[in-house]
Symmetry: C2
């Protein structure tokens, strides 16, 4: 059984928490004011907006050493909705991995809207969580948690693929905000 | 009725040709050796691999002035399958648009495998062609051709969104080559 800490109690944190619990794994939700609570999970999901990641690293960086850390962020410029705030040749996840050299950092959940995690489907297609990272065991561990929770998991490649996952997440958000897709739809992965 | 020229007679060129014809629009396929044939379409789809685009611009650039030009390329490094060959902060389509200042350049069809254009479905989901570009009338014209041909068309935004469409096409190709999705599947757009 895996034990998962989720930092962030918003819509995505709650949805991911439900997936973990549904699979029979244990989960703790850590809120903004839980500064005195230790992160006890072997897997830690950072379910906070991109601008809050730096603060988590500053306050929890030492605690994250040795753990699998999952970045779910879409680092959009939410004022313009027309660009990412990360360097064009990098990704939010690559930046996080650089600042957490003792953690095994993965990208996941940034291409699945919360509603599709909760329902298990994008329209009529089973929800797939795309996972990128350089550590095969870490990806396998997270993939197992996702699969146990009733969703599909697909290994999307190395950590460098986080750049494309963030482009996909960005595009999907612009389509949803522009009402081209609904928040229960978006990009479904058809195997 | 629209008249479409398709430069390139490969799998994608043929699939797009079928979509155009199915919608009651007229289409001509221009092959590599048809150097003496004029491009008579109001819309010209460049259904050639990315490395061949420069040659089309060099030999057909003047002819493309005043036309709607559709770039379908995924500019992968096909040796490594691990990166795009375009600058990280740009796209193949942006490069093409810069070299064809008198054309209205669109990105489309790079996120739909040929089989999904032919069948009209990604798995069980109707195939959606994502179209990016800066000219609303050009997008509307191409969208109408696609819709008449039995597919869905979604305006994915400005020409700058071609960068994200190319990231999506890149990711989708890596998933197909890695057998994580089939060539009849991939990313479906669920409205």
């Amino acid at each position: 059984m895996a034990h998962v800490s989720i930092v962030g109690t918003g819509t995505m944190g709650q949805a991911i928490s439900s997936v973990v619990a549904k699979g029979g794994n244990t989960v703790e939700l850590i809120g903004h004011n839980d500064t005195d609570k230790a992160l006890t999970g072997d897997v830690v999901v950072l379910a906070v907006p991109f601008p809050a990641i730096a603060d988590v690293v500053a306050t929890r960086g030492d605690e994250l050493a040795g753990k699998v850390v999952v970045d779910i962020t879409n680092p959009l410029n939410f004022e313009t909705f027309d660009s990412l705030v990360t360097p064009a040749d990098s990704s939010a996840t690559a930046g996080l991995a650089a600042s957490l050299p003792q953690s095994r950092v993965l990208k996941a959940f940034n291409t699945t809207f919360a509603a599709t995690l909760a329902s298990g489907a994008v329209g009529e297609v089973p929800t797939t969580v795309l996972i990128a990272g350089d550590d095969a065991d870490a990806k396998s561990l997270l993939g197992g948690i996702v699969t146990a929770g009733g969703l599909r998991a697909v290994d999307a490649g190395a950590l460098s693929r986080a750049r494309e996952l963030e482009a996909l997440g960005f595009l999907q958000l612009t389509l949803a905000v522009g009402e081209k897709v609904s928040w229960t739809g978006g990009f479904a992965v058809v195997s």
